[in-house]
Symmetry: C2
Subunit: 307 residues, 2 copies
């Protein structure tokens, strides 16, 4: 079933111990939609500038991603430059040029009105809520946020959290949002703010999903999915967005919302995140085969399941 | 089958957000042996002072732990005081009084010579190797170490690692020992130093076991066990030792060394570690019932297994 993603499309210059990739296609919406495209039909809303050419369009088209919702504005596309040192979990930002992204006002095209699943990528919370209002009969709303919005727009974020069914954030964001340093306690506090389901991403340790009381009638026991111990993390950029893409894409493909679907979605999220980091930018996410995804899913299962 | 543990017996004064416990029974060997006692017959070698009374002896006896190997020396028992702040994963040491532990020279009593499983708790590496030499036909040697020995006695530790079959350490210790910040790569480097099996403990994220080539003929795919998200971590002291106790105790009970045994041992390690932190000191480990251990094992399984 159709999945709509909003967020950023960008050009990134990324440096890690493995080298530098100059002005490669990036942005949360790009990673998200590429990862999700292996599971379901994806459509996106984003904004790009004059430097976004037929070559970039082609990347989305090859994955059957509907880009009619991409707005074109005069100026340059969002640009980010970052560098990863010994600690690959933390990027040093070298440049952030918002460009056309600064005045992004997402508009949902009429052709997207039948979208059943929605993912609100990490943008200003009021814009996220506004997108939600533009869509009527959506079945599940997933969303992301970051410490910048948690710290600087808490009341706007509080409103937006009420319209999110599933919030996907990391450990630090969960603790910061809940003002609590104990993760499971912080998770319960975040669930009390609105989301029915909270996915907390632990980087190299996988992710845990916490369910609110009566969320989809599936009980409140948490579930933890692993990630693969990867010896060569070339570029961690977009791992969280790829996780969200695998997670939401798998759910959208199933249509049904039950505990087993959420559990497997956690595995597929981890699978897509683990692929993303193996190459610079979106390179790895652009060239996957379905057998490779299933093979890694099985690896994740062997990594965690008793006989 | 019989499991021999060596390490420290101590009195600890522990402060956390939940209060203070004054001079409670602690030490790596105490946590280890109590946790292991739920699985197999345990015997220990340690040193205590005049302040170790019949009351402390009774704790071990109630768990059928053989303490004939406990040496008594004039003076006081090892004393440690520590405090946990907002970050429960890191203790601030307030006092360390080695006392009789300073001159600990472990001697294996004749009655222990038939021990089939050995755990070398975290003491000076040369002493660990010396204990290993005192035991002939042992089937599996597990061991622990810490950053202090990694940094200050690297060559002694290098010798000791050659006689360890299973090394159980945490993420930071693994990276420090391997001089590599990437965990799976660091794990491979540590395995090259001697141990056939490396268990890396990730604190609240569980633990991963890495197998060396041809280790017990069980293949080299890693396996990851969870821990329970615990809302009230009263006192994390001894969690790693309790993990080692559950891990080694389960293996000793099985007798057989295959991949499934190691996998389940990882789960039982996590189970015992998760109990340890729920109360101050060894309180929780002193009063468990087997049904509670099995119940938590099932919780761990539900937390991680797809349907």
């Amino acid at each position: 079933m159709s999945l709509l993603g909003i967020g950023s499309v960008a050009f990134d210059t990324i440096t890690s111990a493995y080298g530098t990739a100059e002005r490669v296609l990036g942005g949360s919406c790009t990673y998200f939609s590429l990862a999700a495209s292996y599971f379901t039909q994806v459509r996106i809303v984003a904004v790009v500038g004059d430097d976004f050419t037929a070559r970039e369009e082609e990347v989305f088209r090859r994955h059957n991603i509907d880009i009619r919702g991409i707005q074109r504005a005069p100026g340059k596309t969002f640009f980010w430059a970052g560098e990863y040192g010994a600690n690959v979990n933390e990027a040093q930002t070298r440049a952030t040029e918002l460009n056309v992204f600064e005045n992004f006002a997402p508009v949902i095209p009429r052709e997207y009105q039948d979208s059943e699943f929605l993912f609100l990528g990490n943008i200003q919370p009021t814009l996220q809520a506004d997108v939600r209002r533009q869509l009527g009969g959506v079945r599940l709303v997933g969303g992301d946020t970051m410490n910048y919005w948690i710290n600087n727009t808490p009341s706007e974020l509080a409103e937006t959290l009420k319209v999110m069914d599933v919030l996907l954030i990391n450990d630090a964001e969960t603790k910061s949002l809940a003002h609590d340093t104990n993760l499971p306690r912080a998770a319960q506090k975040v669930l009390a703010l609105g989301p029915k389901v909270l996915v907390v991403k632990h980087g190299e340790y996988g992710a845990t999903v916490f369910f609110g009381d009566h969320a989809f009638g599936i009980g409140h026991h948490p579930f933890r999915a692993p990630t693969l111990p990867i010896e060569e993390v070339r570029d961690p950029t977009g791992a969280g967005d790829a996780f969200a893409g695998g997670f939401m894409g798998y759910i959208a493909r199933q249509g049904e919302l039950n505990r087993e679907v959420f559990k497997r979605a956690m595995f597929y999220g981890g699978v897509m995140g683990s692929f993303a980091v193996e190459r610079f930018g979106t390179e790895r996410l652009q060239g996957l085969r379905h057998e490779q995804i299933e093979e890694r899913f099985q690896l994740f299962r062997e990594l965690t399941h008793l006989g």
